[in-house]
Symmetry: D2
C-alpha cells in the first residue's frame, strides 16, 4: 500500500511543472499519501535535500513558470554508485514510490535507480521539446510555442516595417517540434529543422530561390525564416551572413534562447500537467511501476518508461507537406 | 473540377478565423482555384458583397483576431426564400463550392442553401465554444481559454491580497467547455457549469460547505468560483449576492463577456485553422460535399455536416471527476 | 536614529505594491534598519500580525501582482480607540517609523494614528486610480491602463468583425484617469467620465449624434465607448440598453471590474515603486514625518500627507480637448 | 496657411509610430489639411512613393506595432543632391510642411532637406532608445522596456529553477536607457551600460565579487546581469564565457535583439504618440518650423530640431545610485 511518495523535477525546466507538482500534492492528500519533494532534481536524493509538501504549499503555484522544487542535471547519477546511493535514500526515507517529472534523459536516470530500489517509479513528461514517446504532448511544449510565437509576431512588425529578412532561431537540438509548430503558426515563409534534413553551405541556393520568387511574385514586404538550433555550420548568425551575401539584402538573425523555457504556462499545459500529475498518483496506487503517465488521443495512458526514447516521434506529415509545398512558395 | 470557391465567416467571431481564411487562399492559389470572400457571413451572398482574395490579401493576418471578412448572424437565411436566394447567388457567380467557417448554427444555414445549390459545401469549425461534434477542438477555443485564464490569474492576485471570494463568469450558454477548462487551468476552487447540473437557490448550501471547509482546513487566502453564463436564476451577480449573504463574507462577481472572443490567436488555434483550412480545399478538390473538416486524434477528418450538432460533446470525464472530488475539496 | 521601521499595504491592492515592499526592505538592509511587515493593512497593527522582512523574503516578488503583506480595509481604525490602539502597537514594538503604502484613504488612517504615535510616518502612493495629489502617478496606474487596453483591443477585434457598438466600463468612481487614458490609448470613439460631467437619460442624444455621424461619414466598422463606473443611472448595462433602443443597433456592455487590479506590474510601475520605496526609507532617515513620497516631473519629492486629497487632480487638458473635439468626431 | 502636409516614418521602427500617424491624420482632417504619407522614410520622397491618408486609412492602427508607412534608412539623403532632390519633391507636391517621425538621425536628414525647402518641417520623436534631447520620453521606449521585461521575467523563471547566472543583452548602442530601466524593473542583480563606463576583461573581478557575495550572504537562487549591447569586447556571449571561467558556474547569454522593436504599443506610448502627433499639426498651423514636438514634465513643448542630439540625455541619477549601491549588493 502506498503511504509515502517522493517527487522531483529534473532536466531543463518547463512551464507547467508547478501545475504537475500541485496536482500530485492535492491528489496525494485525497488518498492520504504523504508527498515528499526533493530539490534540484536527483541531487536532492543524494544530498538529503527535501521537504514534505502539503496542499498549502502548492496554493497559487499553478500559474507560475519554473519549478518550486528547482531542477538540475545530475552527473553523479550516471555512475553506478550514484544510482545506488539515490535508491538507498529512497529506502531510508521509507518512500513507497517516486514520481519523476522531466524528459527522456531524466527517465534514463530513474531507470538506473530502479535497479536498486524496491519501490515503484513513475514518470511525468515535462519538457518544452515534445520529444518524448508515449504522449502526444509534453508539459511545457504548448507554452514554448506561444512564447516563440510572441517573438515571431514582434519580429514580423519590424520586418514588415523595414522590409527585411529575419532568421529566428528556436530551441530543439534533435527535434523540430517547436520550430515547425511555431513556424507554421507564425506564418513563417520558410522553416529549417532537423526533420527536413541538415543544411549545408552548398544548399543555400534552395533557400534563396523561394525568397526571390516571393518578392517578385507576391510583393511580400517581410520574410521570416524559422530555424531550429544547430541547423547550419557556424550557427544561425553564420547562416544569416551567408544569406545576406548571396541575396544582397540584409538578413538578421535573432536567437530566442532560454526565454522559451520560462513564463506562465498556457491553459493547455496547466490542464495536461494537472491530468498527468493526478493520473500518476492514481496509477501508483493501482500498482504501476516503471511507466510514464502520458496522454494519447486526449486519454491518460501508461507507457513503458524504457521506451520513451526508443523511436523518433514523427511530426504531423500533413502540416510538413503543406508547409513545404504551399506556404513556402 | 473545382475552379472557383467562395468562403465566408459566420456566427460569433473566433480567434483563428483569419488563419483559416489565409490557409484557404494560399491552398487555393496552389491549386489554381479562385477564392471569393463574402463579407458579413451569409449576408454577403444575399447582398452581393464580395471580393476576390489573393495571397497578398492574406499576408500578415494569421496573427490577428476577428475576421477580415467580417461576421454576422443572418436572419434572412432562416426563410426558404433566403436560402434559395443565397444558392442562386452562388450559381450566378459560378462558384463550384462554398467554405463556411463557423459553428453548428452556421452549418444549419449552409445545409439550407445546399437544397438549392448544385456545387459542393464544406464546413470549417470556428467558434470559441468547442460545442461542435466531429472535431476534438474548434478554432478559437484554445485562445478563449487563455484569455479567460489571464483574467482569472489577475483576479487571483487581488483575491489573494484581499482574501476575498470571487465569482468569474465565462461564456458558454449550452456548453461548459470553456468554464471547465479555464476553471481547472486557473486552479479554481469550484466550477459551476451546465454539465454539472443547473444550480437553484436551494442548492446554495452545496456551494457553501466547501468554502467554509477550505478556509478552516487549508487556510486558503483566496477562493475563486468559475461559473458558466446562465447557471443561476438572475445571473452571476445574483449568485454572488446570495453567497455573500449566506457566508457573511463579501463575494464579488466578475463577468468576462465579449473579451473572450477577441485577441491574437494562440499557436494551437493558428495551427488548427491552417490545417483545417488547407484540408477543406484539398477535400473539395477530391469531391467532398456537405462535410465538415475536423480534427480527431490529431488527424484531419471529414464529418457529416448534418451531424455536427446531433449529440452533445462530452467533457473529459477524468478531469470532471478530479475537479469534483479532489480540487474542490 | 531610525532602527526599526514597520510597513503595510492598505486599501485596494495595486500592481507594484510588491516592488515597493522589496525596495523598502533592500534599502532598509543597506541602512541597517530592521523592517517589520504588518499583514492585512492596519489590521495587522491591531491583531499583532507581523513578521520581520529580510532581503531573501523579497527575492523574485518585483514581478508579481497583489501584495505579499495582503491588504484590507480596516473599519476599527476609524474609531478613536482603534487609532490609539494602532499607535500603541507601534510603540510596543519599538518601531521608529511606519511606511504606509496605499491611497488617500489609507493616509487618512495613518494621520489618525499619528496623533497618538511618537515615531515618524511616511506614505507611498499605491492605487490604480491615480487620484492622489502630490505625485504625477500612483503605483499601479500604468498597469491598470494596460490591462484595460488589452481588454479594449480584444473587444475591438470582435466589434470590428461584427460591426457592433460596445460600451466598456472601467474603474474610477471619482476620477476619470483610467477611463480617459485607456480610452485615448484604445482609440475609443467616445469617452464618458466624471470630469466630463454626469450623464443623464436626457443627454443620450449628445451621445447618439456622433455615433450616427461616424457611421455615415467615416464608414466606421466598430464603435467603442469607454465609460467610467457610476456614470449613468442604473449603470453601464442600463446605458447600453438605452442606446440600443435609441439607435436601433445592438449595443453591448462589458464591465471590466476587478481584473484591473491584478497582473504583473509593467515597467513604469516597478520603477516608480522602486524609486518611491527607496526614497521613503532614505527620507525617514533624514527625519521626514507625515509626508508622502511622490514623484513630480520625474523627481522624487515629499508632499504633506494631510494634503494628498485636498484638491482634485486635473487630467491633462490638452488630451481632454483633443479627445472631445477631434477624436470623438 | 497650411493646406497640405507630408508625413513619414524614418530610422528604426518603434511601437507607437502608427498611433502618431493616426493622430496626425485625424487632427489634419479636423483642420481641413490634406495629409500625404510617404513610404519607406525619406526614400518615399525620392521615389515618388506616397498616398493620401484619410481617417478611414488609420482606423484600428493605434494598437499595431511597426508602421503602415514603412520605415527605412536612406543613404541618398546624406549627399547634397539627395537632400535637394527630396526638397524638390516636397515643392512639386505643393506640400506646405513635412512631419518626420523618427530619432535624432532622421532629424539630421530633415535639416538637410530644410536648406532647400520653403515649407515648414517638424519632428516627432519615435525611437525605442529614448536618446533624443528635448523630450522626457520618445515614442516606443515604454513598450521596449516592457518587452525586455517580459523576457527578463521568463529568464528569471528558468534561472531560478536552475540556479544559474544569466546575462541578458538589451538594445542601446550609445544609451543605457533601456538597459537601466529594464534592469531595475526586472530586479536585475547587476546592470552594465555605457553610462557606467566601458567594461574591459581586466574589470571582470568587479563583476565577480558581488556575484559571490550574493550567493554566500543572501542565498540567491538566481542571478541576472542585464547588459547593453557593445559593452564588452567580443560581445555578451564572450562576457558570459569569461564569467563562466572565472566563477566556475555556468553563465548563459541571451541576446534579445530585434524583438524589442515590435509589439503592440503599451498605453504610455499610444498616449504620447497621440499627444505629440496632434500637437505637431497644431504647431505647424501656428507657424512652427525646424522644431521637434516633445513632452517635458507632461507638457507638450517645442524644441529646436538642431539640438535634439546636442547633449547626452542623463539617466535618473537617483536610480543609478540606488542600483549601484543597494540593489547590486
Amino acid at each position: 500500500m502506498i503511504k509515502r511518495v517522493g517527487v522531483l523535477t529534473s532536466g531543463g525546466d518547463a512551464p507547467g511543472m508547478n501545475a504537475a507538482i500541485r496536482a500530485i500534492v492535492l491528489t496525494g492528500a485525497a488518498y492520504n499519501i504523504d508527498i515528499i519533494g526533493f530539490r534540484h532534481g536527483f541531487n536532492g536524493l543524494l544530498d538529503d535535500d527535501y521537504q514534505t509538501l502539503l496542499p498549502q504549499h502548492v496554493q497559487n503555484i499553478i500559474q507560475h513558470g519554473g519549478t518550486i522544487l528547482k531542477s538540475a542535471r545530475c552527473k553523479a547519477l550516471h555512475t553506478p554508485e550514484g544510482a545506488k546511493q539515490a535508491a538507498e535514500a529512497l529506502q531510508r526515507l521509507q518512500l513507497d514510490a517516486l514520481v519523476v517529472i522531466g524528459g527522456d534523459g531524466s527517465f534514463r536516470g530513474a531507470l538506473a535507480i530502479a535497479e536498486h530500489y524496491h519501490g515503484q517509479i513513475i514518470g511525468v513528461p515535462g519538457t518544452i521539446d515534445n520529444d518524448v514517446d508515449g504522449t502526444d504532448y509534453t508539459i511545457g511544449f504548448a507554452t514554448a510555442i506561444d512564447t516563440a510565437l510572441d517573438a515571431i509576431d514582434k519580429i514580423r512588425d519590424t520586418a514588415d516595417a523595414f522590409e527585411r529578412i529575419f532568421l529566428v532561431e528556436l530551441m530543439g537540438r534533435h527535434s523540430g517540434y517547436i520550430t515547425l509548430s511555431a513556424g507554421i503558426a507564425g506564418g513563417a515563409e520558410q522553416i529549417i529543422c532537423p526533420e527536413f534534413g541538415a543544411l549545408q553551405p552548398e544548399d543555400l541556393k534552395t533557400l534563396i530561390a523561394p525568397v526571390q520568387r516571393a518578392q517578385l511574385l507576391r510583393g511580400k514586404s517581410s520574410y521570416i525564416i524559422v530555424v531550429a538550433e544547430n541547423s547550419y555550420p557556424g550557427g544561425t548568425t553564420a547562416l544569416a551572413e551567408a544569406l545576406s551575401t548571396a541575396l544582397g539584402i540584409e538578413c538578421r538573425a535573432c536567437i530566442l534562447g532560454h526565454i522559451q523555457r520560462g513564463g506562465s504556462p498556457v491553459g493547455a499545459d496547466r490542464i495536461l500537467a494537472t491530468k498527468l500529475g493526478a493520473y500518476a498518483i492514481e496509477q501508483l496506487v493501482l500498482g504501476a511501476n516503471l511507466m510514464m503517465a502520458g496522454e494519447i488521443n486526449q486519454q491518460a495512458v501508461l507507457y513503458p518508461m524504457a521506451q520513451t526514447g526508443a523511436k523518433k516521434k514523427q511530426i504531423d506529415p500533413y502540416l510538413v507537406r503543406w508547409q513545404q509545398t504551399i506556404a513556402s512558395d
